[in-house]
């Protein structure tokens, strides 16, 4: 007798009706309610299961190579940002100095004339 045949026999017996006492009935009722409650939880679960699956996959496939690439990308972005910041600092300093040189009361030649520098040194001694 295979599985299908057993199921058919059980169905026939059940269709004829069972003479069960109240204790068995209450146990059956309890078991049925328990099964239904579990079924409800499972039917709510797919969304969670899907998310868990995605993150699970992400975690598992987020292996060595992508991690290295992502770290490299973060490092490169960091270096670019630092470089940009440094360049802007240098540019700001140049702007500051140029503005001071151009507005100062010393003429430009005074900053350029090497003889003036030498003369100052000589006269200060």
């Amino acid at each position: 007798m295979n599985e299908q045949q057993i199921a058919y026999r059980i169905k026939q017996i059940l269709s004829r009706g069972l003479d069960l006492d109240s204790e068995k009935l209450s146990r059956l009722k309890f078991a049925r309610e328990g099964a239904l409650a579990r079924q409800r939880v499972e039917s709510n679960a797919p969304a969670l299961a899907w998310a868990s699956n995605v993150f699970g996959r992400l975690g598992s496939s987020f292996s060595f190579v992508p991690r290295v690439v992502l770290s490299m990308a973060v490092l490169i972005l960091g270096l670019i940002s630092v470089n940009q910041w440094r360049e802007s600092q240098v540019a700001a300093e140049i702007e500051e100095i140029d503005a001071a040189v151009l507005t100062g009361d010393l003429p430009l030649d005074a900053y350029l004339d090497k003889g003036f520098d030498a003369w100052l040194k000589r006269s200060s001694h």
């Binding site: 992508p66 702007e95 004339d113 003889g115």
Partner: protein, 162 residues
């Protein structure tokens, strides 16, 4: 998923570096400047479009500072603009270094420099040459701002010592 992450990382890198490079590449032409900027930077008008973007940015920064400068500073900056722009990068670098050195001097010595410069210029040229002085580049007497430049630009003042 891993490929998507790599692609995302690369895309981030490329887009960020492109974004970072954009302001450097952006270079305003003379006609794109505001009338006020044109007025302040008038001595650079003819050479503006040939300037490198970073130099343009510096001059725009100086133009931004211009309204806060003292009137005599405004006159000087416009008088010196063209001469400064015509210097070689090495000369500008040397002048900046010299400025930094001067800034470390005590205030009394700094103030005396102008007088010392005048004194030095009274020396015979031959003597100055011996000290290492090189022939100076003629500083073009630039009509600082265009004649119709309006009132925010200070009128040309008499040239200072040199």
């Amino acid at each position: 998923m891993a490929k998507a992450l790599i692609a995302l990382a690369l895309w981030l890198c490329i887009s960020f570096s492109a974004f970072a490079a954009t302001p450097q590449k952006k270079s305003l032409t003379w006609t794109e400047l505001t009338p006020e900027q044109q007025q302040i930077l008038a001595p650079l008008a003819t050479d503006w479009d040939k300037l490198e973007p970073e130099r343009k940015r510096k001059w725009l920064g100086i133009a931004k500072r211009y309204p806060k400068m003292k009137p005599e500073g405004q006159v000087r900056v416009q008088k010196n603009m063209q001469a400064w722009m015509k210097l070689t990068p090495e000369e500008r670098r040397a002048a900046r270094e010299r400025y930094k050195k001067i800034e470390t001097l005590p205030p009394d010595k700094k103030q005396a420099l102008k007088q010392q410069w005048d004194e030095y210029n009274r020396l015979p040229e031959q003597e100055r040459r011996k000290l290492g002085s090189t022939p100076r580049k003629p500083i073009a007497a630039t009509p600082a701002a265009a004649p119709d430049a309006g009132s925010t630009v200070a009128p040309a003042a008499p040239a200072s010592a040199q």
